[in-house]
């Protein structure tokens, strides 16, 4: 994996510089370099948690600036999620909302000098997509029961005679594959977009002063892409929840 990563074109960051300082050939230096994304992720976790704690520790009916900003973000996410999932959406708001904030911060981290987007690593995005996958499956089984969930996966209408067995089984297989592919598509989409943005920025940074206008333009595009990708990931997650939470009645029973 380390070899594959070394082949990537990346801007230097705090951790890679530290690893270089220690010496990548050494065990510690190699470990630091390998855990680079995790270190940045934990840093972002710490910053988000700290901001959330500072904003909400003395929450008042008349908010101060920080609390107000947090309320705008949290309220907006709650409206967005409940707008799709309905009244039940409030239960999933913390999960999807946290996912959105976390991904957005990780995406934007790459635009800060000496930082890196942890989401440019597939391991990071696959970890998040796995969390989504597990929670969605758990929600589906909890809401419908195990057999009910299988029944849901078999789809409708069932048809008659031979088709009443064959088609539902085919549908079940298809759904299982579809469910298993979801985390891969979800994680690869995010990782590839952010990795592409970071790669483009690092290439443009190599142009020197000539590349500055392009770099500025690309940075603006990268900000847009970071927001859009966070929204896409969260939106798809919300839709996955919506698919297991809503089960329309078959016409005619």
């Amino acid at each position: 994996m380390a070899e594959a990563r070394q082949a990537q074109h990346e801007l230097p960051n705090l951790v890679s510089l530290l690893a270089d300082k220690i010496g990548r050939a050494t065990h510690l230096g190699e470990q630091v370099y390998l855990w680079e994304n995790v270190i940045f992720s934990l840093l972002i976790v710490f910053v988000i948690s700290l901001i959330a704690y500072l904003a909400s520790r003395k929450s008042k009916m008349i908010p101060d600036r920080l609390q107000n900003a947090l309320e705008v973000v949290f309220g907006g996410l709650d409206d967005f999620i409940c707008g799709i999932l309905g009244e039940k959406g409030r239960r999933y708001t913390p999960f999807i909302g946290t996912l959105f904030i976390y991904i957005l911060c990780m995406n934007l981290a790459g635009l800060i000098p000496l930082m890196k987007s942890p989401t440019s690593s597939w391991s990071t995005t696959l970890a998040l997509a796995t969390c989504v996958f597990v929670y969605v499956q758990y929600t589906g089984i909890r809401e419908l029961g195990f057999l009910g969930y299988l029944d849901h996966m078999m789809g409708r209408p069932r048809g008659i005679l031979a088709f009443s067995v064959f088609i539902p089984l085919m549908m079940l297989m298809l759904h299982i594959v579809s469910e298993l592919v979801r985390p891969i598509s979800l994680s690869l989409r995010l990782r590839s977009n952010i990795w592409g943005d970071d790669l483009l920025l690092s290439v443009l940074a190599g142009f020197g002063l000539v590349g500055v206008p392009l770099l500025v333009f690309s940075a603006l595009l990268a900000i847009l892409a970071a927001v859009v990708q966070a929204v896409v990931f969260s939106l798809l997650t919300t839709i996955y929840f919506a698919l297991v939470l809503t089960h329309e009645e078959e016409p005619g029973g």
Partner: protein, 165 residues
């Protein structure tokens, strides 16, 4: 397979743990508090708005009642005024009548009094004349009547009359 080389199981586990830690922290410190506060504020705003609407409705009701009361008060005042005016008219008419009657009575009494006084004066005059006539007759009878004597008697009589006047 090239793509799979980018994956690291340890990193995935660490990232999952990192996300779960963040989720737990945010759930405890932020989501519950902020969403609870937002709900509370929403309820507060809704209740306040409802209160304002209720107050508005009350004010409108009070205004209507006030207008109705004012109208009835004006009506009552007009009625009372009219009634008082009518009563005053009646009282005035009565007073005029009674004053007229009293005046008529005074005039009648005065007339009666004048007539009485006049009759009394006439009687007194008559009595005086009779007395004088009797006196004059007595004088005539007591003395022998002559031309000069008669004249003297008449002059005395006239003198007496002058004295009486």
């Amino acid at each position: 397979m090239e793509l799979l080389k980018l994956l690291s199981t340890n990193e995935i586990i660490a990232q999952v743990l990192g996300f779960l830690i963040l989720l737990t922290l945010l759930r405890v410190f932020a989501w519950k508090k902020i969403l609870g506060l937002l709900d509370k504020r929403k309820e507060y705003v809704v209740s306040e708005l409802k209160g304002i609407e209720d107050a508005k409705a009350d004010i409108a009701k009070i205004k209507l009642e006030y207008a109705a009361n004012m109208a009835s008060i004006e009506e009552t005042a007009k009625e009372k005024l009219h009634q008082a005016f009518n009563e005053s008219k009646i009282i005035l008419e009565d007073a005029r009548k009674s004053a007229h009657l009293a005046a008529q009575e005074i005039i009648d009494n005065a007339k009666k009094s004048v007539q009485y006084e006049l009759a009394k004066a006439k009687d007194e005059l008559k009595n005086e004349i009779i007395d004088l006539t009797v006196k004059a007759a007595e004088n005539i009878i007591q003395e022998k009547l002559t031309g000069a004597g008669d004249r003297k008697i008449v002059e005395n009589f006239l003198g007496e009359l002058d004295k009486l006047e």
